[in-house]
Symmetry: C2
Subunit: 327 residues, 2 copies
């Protein structure tokens, strides 16, 4: 066990109050006293006890990030940015994996069991905002990737409809007519896929193309293997594919190449997320790049000086279409 404030005080021949002042650096302390206290601190290798501070101060400096799975490139890139931004604000980021399980998600909006977290940043998957009517705690929550949190929670997301519209339009401009949308997730409460589908359909309509429901491909998850499955489901019926994640796009593209197709010659492929794999893909992947730094910053901004009872904030982060060799 490390030394306590009291021990340092005795050693320096002052009161705990003075030591506390020196440690926190706030109140005025006579230079001579300060150096004596500092000496005692060094000798005793004093380190403030965070638990006591937290009990006293009510804040823990810990925030929880809850994502379906951290190993997924989009989430790990976002987590890296969030961790960095948190560090800048003297906050520590913890990670929780929901596995896309509704029960876990529901638990986590009340905080992390057995921990005091100052806030929860949740990327919901199974749960729709409508399914969260009340909660047991009042920990501030920020929802990631949601466009509408029912007024209950702060949320930050890119404009999924617009991004999908732009991407689909790009495919149309490239001369494609049978464009598939890959990545519907009708079984999930999470509205992201729905919004991207909406943008896709809008672009088709604007171009006077009729949507073909058989080109709208649902997936079980957003992994590469699901992209490969989508290729099978699609076989030959499309000349372009707009995938709702880069992982799907990469999986689909690799399946296409394995089957002897050329990309983008026989099949143009676009993704969503702009993860590193896509940038170095073969060919490099056209994708929607959400402004992840902005998302990370906005999520943490939502947690600063959260006025109790204030209306939920809604932040729309930027995005841009990055055209690469796959289209």
């Amino acid at each position: 066990m490390s030394a306590t404030l009291r021990q340092v005080a005795e050693r320096a021949g002052v009161s705990v109050r003075t030591v506390s002042n020196v440690v926190s650096g706030f109140a005025l302390v006579a230079p001579e006293t300060r150096s004596r206290v500092q000496a005692a601190i060094d000798e005793l290798r004093y380190r403030p006890n965070a638990a006591a501070r937290h009990l006293r101060g009510g804040r823990s400096g810990l925030i929880a990030l809850a994502v379906p799975e951290i190993a997924s490139p989009y989430f790990s890139e976002l987590a890296g940015l969030l961790a960095e931004e948190a560090g800048r604000r003297s906050l520590l980021l913890s990670i929780q994996q929901t596995g896309g399980d509704a029960k876990v998600e529901r638990t986590l909006i009340d905080g992390v069991p057995g921990q005091t977290v100052d806030a929860v940043i949740l990327s919901p998957w199974a749960l729709s905002p409508a399914e969260i009517t009340h909660r047991a705690s009042d920990v501030p929550v920020v929802l990631l990737g949601e466009q509408d949190a029912g007024g209950l929670f702060d949320h930050v997301a890119v404009d999924n409809v617009a991004a999908a519209r732009e991407t689909t339009r790009h495919l149309i401009e490239r001369g494609h007519r049978r464009i598939a949308a890959v990545g519907l997730q009708p079984h999930l409460g999470n509205g992201t896929a729905t919004r991207r589908l909406e943008g896709y359909r809008q672009a088709l309509a604007e171009a006077g193309l009729t949507a073909d429901p058989t080109l709208e491909i649902p997936v079980a998850r957003l992994h590469r293997t699901d992209g490969a499955d989508a290729f099978t489901a699609l076989r030959g019926r499309a000349d372009a594919a707009f995938c709702f994640s880069d992982q799907l796009a990469l999986g689909l593209m690799s399946a296409a190449l394995r089957h002897g197709l050329t990309v983008p010659g026989d099949l143009a492929v676009a993704g969503f997320d702009d993860v590193e794999d896509g940038r170095y893909g073969n060919p490099p992947l056209t994708t929607v790049a959400p402004d992840k730094e902005a998302i990370a910053r906005a999520a943490l901004d939502c947690l600063e000086d959260r006025p109790a009872g204030a209306p939920a904030r809604r932040v729309v982060a930027g995005h841009r279409l990055v055209v690469r060799a796959s289209t």
Copy 2:
């Protein structure tokens, strides 16, 4: 603020002791009393204050994972496994990114500033164990990927020498003679690259091949772009490349393909880590697959009942060579 134990006790007409017993579930409580207390807990939406528990109990249930960067696939996959395993043990995992900075690494072996963590799991990069002669705190530390922690810290790693030897031998068996080793990091304290180089040289020697220093390529970092740079440095001089990470291998492979070479025809490529990108690469990547689950489990095992003053543990996790189409 949530209700306190005392408030619950008053509400139920019992003492705090009894409520505490009900909450923790340990001591015996009369069924009738228990249900009355439970009712009060529910009505008041009581949730135990973790900070108070931690102050009292001395343990925080928080452990820190410190890696160079969480967005790197190997680390994010490992983090996912660690988070899962931690959850199984009612522990919460926090993440810290060192950026491979020696100063940050040195700070973190004393715990996370401003937080009480029960332990630190550090994947050192810049720091060699020899550079850590003393520390300010006594937080348990587990080093990841180190084969030798100077007797000071627990550490878990795969047998890098053996793994590198097997991989190189595999390349030799495939008929390659001019085999490059890509990924030396002479500027880093971290001994991983050194050990892999050692295994590589051993395999060459065993096969009666003389090592060619110009085929041993140093890199700045372990990203894809460094692999691409290595391809340039290597141009034409090798018929196979053993890369010390999958990211390097993927980058090198993609550069080779871009330059019109075939893989493995003109250049065979092997990696290390077995990250998901490699499995779905084009072609899929031959690689060393460390037993990441075992690493995660072992790291947390090291933290359970850590007897003070016990000698540092050394765990060697398993690995296997996964041969795919790139060789």
